[in-house]
């Protein structure tokens, strides 16, 4: 798939995110928007998956450790055909299977329930160990937030992943530099993130996580790594694509009102039109 097509899908994903969070009147648009390219690439290019057979045994797995960006995961899954797009409007509504944080028991395509920060990466490590034990060739991807890596469990999991030489595991850090209380380096700095993962014996790749020209070769490089897991430190822009949400901590966890929703959609429509001119 060419880059332009991926960018168009990503723009649709961003519209889905904003629409779902607006419908829910709650949720996490900022981090969802920052991770849109990464999740789109994983589900449309990188992973061996089949939306018609979400549970197939040899599929690659994805664990959204930063489970609060469920709107991004649901939007990508819907765009990929796991369930109807119109269901995104039920996000966080009573009785909906689209819970505020992903529920593997309900949503096709969700490989692990997550949301309590620090826990998803451990499950991803477990899945990667399972593949090694079974001699299976599937790969396991997980995404953690740059705030999430303040959780000690992330480092417990990382230590074990490298110790067991899980070269079938890729940990993507969505480094948008913002958490609820503000900039991550002002709250409790996780930097240098790359050096920390290097010290834990990961193969580390630094990229711009909103740029497909960097996402694609990084994941390709990770496939070639033997004997150690890979960490991709993806510098991203929180709230990307929506003018008033970009790099603004207050949009970590709140929904746009009707007026703000119109502006957000106008921003994204405009971006979509620009892509059609390319």
């Amino acid at each position: 798939m060419d880059k332009l097509k991926l960018m168009k899908i990503t723009n649709e994903v961003r519209k889905d995110i904003v629409t779902a969070v607006h419908s829910a009147k709650a949720g996490h648009p900022g981090g969802s928007l920052s991770a849109a390219e990464l999740l789109t690439f994983l589900y449309f290019e990188e992973m061996n998956i089949d939306p018609k057979d979400p549970g197939k045994a040899d599929r690659d797995r994805f664990v959204l450790s930063k489970g609060h960006i469920a709107p991004a995961l649901y939007s990508v899954l819907a765009e990929r055909g796991y369930f109807p797009k119109k269901e995104l409007l039920t996000l966080r509504h009573t009785g909906s299977r689209l819970q505020g944080h992903p529920d593997m028991k309900q949503v096709p395509g969700v490989d692990m329930s997550s949301g309590s920060l620090g826990q998803g990466i451990s499950a991803a490590v477990g899945m990667a160990i399972a593949a090694k034990l079974s001699g299976a060739s599937y790969r396991v991807y997980t995404m953690v937030g740059d705030g999430e890596i303040q959780e000690g469990q992330v480092w417990e999991a990382s230590m074990l992943a490298a110790h067991r030489r899980l070269d079938n595991l890729v940990v993507i850090v969505d480094n948008n530099n913002l958490q609820i209380d503000g900039e991550v380096d002002k709250v409790n700095s996780p930097y240098p993130i790359d050096k920390k993962f290097e010290a834990f014996n990961f193969h580390v790749i630094n990229i711009d996580g909103n740029d497909f020209d960097q996402i694609e070769p990084a994941l390709k490089e990770a496939r070639a790594v033997k004997g150690q897991p890979t960490a991709i430190i993806a510098k991203t822009l929180k709230g990307k694509g929506v003018s008033f949400m970009e790099n603004a901590a207050e949009w970590h966890g709140k929904a746009p009102n009707d007026e703000e929703y119109k502006i957000a959609m106008a921003d994204l429509e405009k971006a979509g039109e620009a892509l059609c001119q390319m």
Binding site: K105, M112, S113, S122, A123, G126, M127, I129, A130, Q153
Partner: protein, 315 residues
């Protein structure tokens, strides 16, 4: 009683894991640097490739177990009750309980019979914590035979199970040809009409001895062994209460939230009855030889006998 065979329930864990490991390829055993103590090391010795030592990181171990289960393995995650149910409570709740993953938690060193290590390692709250998680099965075997049967039943059941084991060697009381373990079913070990003693785990044997002492005083005590605290055998508990009109619960666990609470939850709805809860009375333990602590905290046969006698006589 010196000829009675004594063996710790934690040994049933290690021994049955080996038996199951020989039969089933999908079993994986995890530990957090306590393989010798939890007896998961027995499995490690036979199946090193299916043993994962996570190091001293119980929270991660529970998440790794969840991932293994999500990928089709049947993981047994081993640690002390304090760390399995206590430290990793939220991981067990959110990564295992919420998605109802097929993870078995092997928790050894439960209760004050841990002994010399003292209060920091004596978990008297794990049953309360684990039974509050929706869909979690909680099993607390009374001896080696029951422990082995419980480990096998946990494997055969699809869903999360918390298995509670002790460090101390305890008498084997279930060594009989007709012994059958059924998850969720209590076992009447002795019939009686004056009082029903409902017990779980290590003190079950002491309750049988206490019942003998009560019999000498003309008190006819029924003794019920509840190995599965959740789901509780509500029918049996209610029937025992109706038959005797007086219920005593006995457990090596806090009187808050354990078997006593589970029994009261059931009885207040199904058969309101006066209940005496014998257990750890909302205090921390302390260092000392296990048998001395069991006596000091009132879980030995004589203490149980005295408390039940007073209760039955309405003192």
């Amino acid at each position: 009683m010196s000829d009675v065979k004594k063996i710790a329930t934690r040994d049933s864990y290690g021994d049955e894991l080996i038996a199951l490991g020989k039969e089933h390829e999908d079993i994986v055993v995890l530990d957090a640097d306590l393989a010798e103590a939890t007896r998961s090391g027995k499995f490690a010795g036979v199946f090193p490739e299916r043993f994962i030592d996570c190091g001293i990181a119980e929270a991660n171990m529970m998440g790794v177990a969840a991932g293994l289960a999500a990928a089709g393995k049947v993981p047994f995650a081993s640690s002390f009750a304090m760390f399995a149910a206590g430290r990793a409570y939220e991981q067990v709740r959110n990564s295992i309980g919420y998605p109802h993953l097929n993870v078995k938690i092997g928790a050894s060193h439960a209760g004050i019979s841990v002994g010399e290590d003292g209060a920091t390692h004596q978990c008297n709250e794990d049953i309360a914590l684990m039974r509050s998680i929706p869909g979690m099965t909680v099993i607390n075997p009374s001896d080696y035979i029951e422990g082995r049967a419980a480990v096998r039943a946990a494997y055969e059941y699809n869903g999360p199970v918390y298995l509670r084991f002790g460090r101390l060697a305890v008498p084997v009381i279930n060594d009989r040809p007709d012994y059958k373990f059924e998850m969720g079913k209590g076992v009447v070990l002795r019939e009686g009409k004056d009082v029903a003693i409902i017990a779980t785990g290590l003190p079950v044997n002491n309750c049988l001895e206490a019942a003998e002492m009560l019999a000498a005083d003309g008190i006819d005590a029924k003794v019920v062994n509840i190995h599965t605290i959740k789901p509780l055998d509500e029918e049996l508990v209610a029937a025992a209460a109706k038959e005797t009109g007086k219920v005593v619960t006995v457990e090596e666990h806090s009187v808050i939230g354990g078997l006593g609470s589970a029994v009261c939850d059931t009885l207040c709805e199904k058969a309101p009855t006066r209940v005496l809860k014998i257990g750890i009375n909302d205090v921390f333990g302390e260092s000392g030889p296990a048998l001395e602590l069991i006596e000091k905290y009132g879980l030995d046969a004589k203490s149980i006998y005295e408390k039940v006698k007073k209760f039955v006589n309405g003192v």
